[in-house]
């Protein structure tokens, strides 16, 4: 049997397993749990048992509508999928009252979305809501998030029944590794970790490099304050990232891998370990995957805090058992990475995109977004915004669309002062660029994928000091510009905040910032300059010189 036939056997077996006609998927990701999802899960389970209904209550992931927790996704055969928001343990019985039982056992795709922002026991019949009627979904294009909150992340069958691992099987059957790389090249995919480097070029570099074994590292370290998108993906749809990892490994010729997850993302770690065990049990991982000649073994590692870990060469040092300190490049990891072997390090979001690339084909994927930045980007919204949550929009979407239409704008009648795009490595975007499109190296860069909205009561200078203090504490100390520079920058910012900065201090702030940006060894230092530089550019009035400094 070839890989696709082998997969068909797995999918058929998954389809034959009895599934209750009614499925209640509770959004029990990290965000949902913090809003009481576990209590809702327990209440629903208890109620289902008490009523003797044939229903499954599932701990799922979050569909991104974090503002409406606790979310419950209700799925019945031949019925549109319904998503309820604002469910509490108390309203769980009423939620069940609304659901007719029975039906066939065929799983089906969602026909539409429904959201009742505040569910109450006796509300009128719910109205179907299409994206145009759910403002949060307006302009979103959900390639990666399609199944988030709609599937059981602890069950590989759910993933298989929605076409999961089909692209891996197709690639193993029909494409040579070089052809997979060509497809990814045609898609124009850029790495989503923040650097926006061509994924195909990275893969090609590793494929062409000599040395065995080759390694593939999944970077799900995600330690930047304000950024939480990889956690959402891994908590809600871990197999999508695993499938991307396998396709990537096949393409670059890697036989070994490390799935590196943030040390405090315990639920994501659990979901990934579960997913890998299930994939292994079904022959989707390990020796001779799906009966092909491709073998891949992977171990899960997690960090113990420290922002520097997300830097790719620091991550490699950590895997090898040393302090997380970046390496001098060149050589680049694709040539000499883990234990000196060719290594590809891809962000979890990048790998989650691979399935969409192969599903659509490279050229069709390239039609989404902008010519020089294709596809979609995950953005976690938080701060002074009406609808905080996880958003997926094509590149080229305006900042206004994300913040105002999707996010609902600044609440409480306040005005928008700025959006911090990214955490301590991010830039401040003023309200004047609201109509600019999201594009790498533009005034509204996609960044790492976390936007913190700040209203007009917030001090930008205060925020800059907080971010700079973080960078100072997290600097690993290996290179002087970052280690000493961040301390000096914080001193200068403190002087500005005290109203004691002279014009020489302000000049020095710019100078030191430039040195830190250009001379630091790795991204932590280079990026530490960005909040300061962008704040100086757009919010200069907050960086005033002391009144009488000419002396």
């Amino acid at each position: 049997m070839n890989p696709q036939e082998q997969l068909t056997v797995l999918v058929d077996a998954a389809g034959r397993r009895p599934r209750p006609p009614l499925r209640l998927i509770v959004a029990a990701g990290g965000c949902g749990r913090a809003r009481g999802a576990n209590a809702v899960l327990a209440a629903l389970q208890q109620e289902v048992m008490a009523r003797g209904i044939d229903a499954a209550v599932v701990a799922g992931g979050c569909n991104g509508m974090c503002y409406a927790h606790v979310l419950v996704d209700v799925q019945r055969p031949d019925q549109p999928r319904l998503t309820y928001g604002g469910i509490t343990p108390g309203s769980a019985p009423a939620l069940l009252d609304e659901q007719p039982g029975g039906g066939s056992r065929e799983p089906r795709e969602a026909a539409s979305w429904l959201l009742i922002p505040e569910f109450r026991p006796s509300i009128p019949a719910p109205q179907p809501l299409t994206p145009s009627r759910v403002p949060f979904l307006a302009g979103q294009q959900r390639l990666l998030m399609r199944d988030l909150g709609a599937i059981d992340p602890a069950e590989v069958d759910d993933y298989l029944l929605r076409g999961g691992y089909g692209l891996l099987a197709m690639a193993l059957d029909e494409l040579m590794p070089e052809e997979v790389i060509a497809e990814v090249k045609a898609s124009g995919l850029l790495g989503r970790g923040g650097a926006y480097f061509s994924t195909a070029a990275k893969w090609q570099g590793c494929r062409a490099a000599s040395g065995e074994p080759k390694w593939l590292v999944v970077n799900a370290e995600e330690g930047e304050p304000g950024v939480y998108k990889d956690r959402h993906l891994l908590e809600g749809d871990p197999h999508r990232v695993v499938e991307g990892m396998l396709v990537a490994a096949y393409a670059v010729g890697a036989s070994r891998g490390v799935f590196y997850i943030n040390g405090e993302a315990r639920l994501a770690q659990h979901r990934v370990r579960q997913a890998l065990e299930q994939a292994l049990a079904r022959g989707l991982l390990g020796e001779r995957i799906l009966g092909s000649d491709f073998s891949f073994e992977v171990s899960v590692r997690h960090g113990s805090g420290g922002y520097i870990l997300g830097e790719e060469t620091a991550l490699l040092e950590s895997i090898e058992g040393r302090r997380a300190m970046p390496r001098v490049r060149p050589p680049f990891p694709v040539e000499r990475g883990l234990w000196g072997k060719p290594t590809v390090i891809n962000n979890a979001e990048t790998l989650a995109t691979i399935r969409a690339v192969l599903e659509l084909s490279g050229p069709d994927f390239a039609q989404i977004g902008l010519p020089n930045a294709t596809g979609t980007k995950l953005i976690g919204l938080s701060g002074n915004v009406a609808r905080p949550g996880l958003v997926e929009v094509p590149f080229g979407t305006t900042m206004r669309q994300v913040v105002e239409t999707i996010g609902g704008g600044v609440p409480g009648g306040r005005a928008l002062a700025a959006v911090l795009n990214g955490g301590p490595s991010g830039v401040f975007m003023p309200a004047s660029v609201l109509d600019e499109p999201i594009q790498p190296r533009g005034v509204v860069p996609p960044g790492t994928g976390g936007w913190v909205v700040l209203d007009d009561r917030q001090s930008i200078l205060g925020a800059v000091r907080q971010l700079t203090r973080f960078n100072m504490l997290e600097s690993c100390g290996k290179c002087t510009p970052c280690r000493e520079g961040t301390v000096r920058l914080l001193d200068l910012l403190d002087r500005v905040a005290e109203g004691a900065a002279t014009s020489a201090d302000l000049r020095q702030l710019r100078d030191v910032n430039e040195v830190v940006e250009t001379a630091s060894l790795c991204g932590l230092g280079q990026m530490a300059a960005r909040p300061i530089a962008s704040a100086l550019e757009h919010f200069q009035h907050e960086f005033a010189e002391a009144p009488c400094t000419s002396g």
Binding site: Y67, P388, G423
Partner: protein, 158 residues
């Protein structure tokens, strides 16, 4: 300070004698002991054949690795930017008042440590308080203080 020496063989024998097992081994030992006393670092080093200096370097490099044990309960208030704008400072002040502590301190009886963290990574449900590793989002200052009280009260009654 260093606690009672224990035999860690049953934990360590699961790890290969190689430097790459260093971080997983330290994480596992800390999960078992609650912290990494110096004797435990030595035991890990002996098993992995890694010098003590290297172990100490790694153990003090990663913020989540601790040489000293935590209090019985750890309450962490996220004061990252998203939480800050959502009211984290008021929340922290309420908890400081309720526990009669400053952030970073431990109660005299060693029951509760109150700390600030840079991010809890559930920014969409800010402000966030973590109590013994369990996240709570969107709490008001009084609600949070109430939850902390529930955490501490059984001990005070005992």
């Amino acid at each position: 300070m260093d606690g009672v020496r224990q035999d860690l063989t049953f934990i360590l024998e699961a790890f290969p004698r190689a430097q790459h097992a260093l971080l997983p081994a330290l994480q596992r030992v800390q999960a078992e002991l609650g912290s990494l006393p110096l004797w435990a670092l030595e035991a890990v080093g002996e098993h992995l054949r890694v010098p003590k200096s290297e172990l100490y370097g790694v153990a003090t490099h990663y913020p989540e690795l601790r040489l000293e044990p935590h209090a019985e309960h750890v309450v962490r208030v996220c004061t990252g930017l998203s939480c800050r704008v959502a009211g984290a400072p008021a929340l922290l002040a309420a908890l400081e008042a309720r526990l009669s502590l400053r952030s970073g301190q431990t109660t005299a009886d060693g029951a509760v440590t109150l700390e600030e963290i840079h991010c809890a990574f559930i920014c969409s449900v800010a402000p966030v308080v973590e109590m013994d590793g369990v996240g709570h989002g969107g709490l008001g200052a009084e609600e949070a203080a109430g939850l902390v009280w529930e955490l501490v009260a059984p001990r005070m009654i005992r």
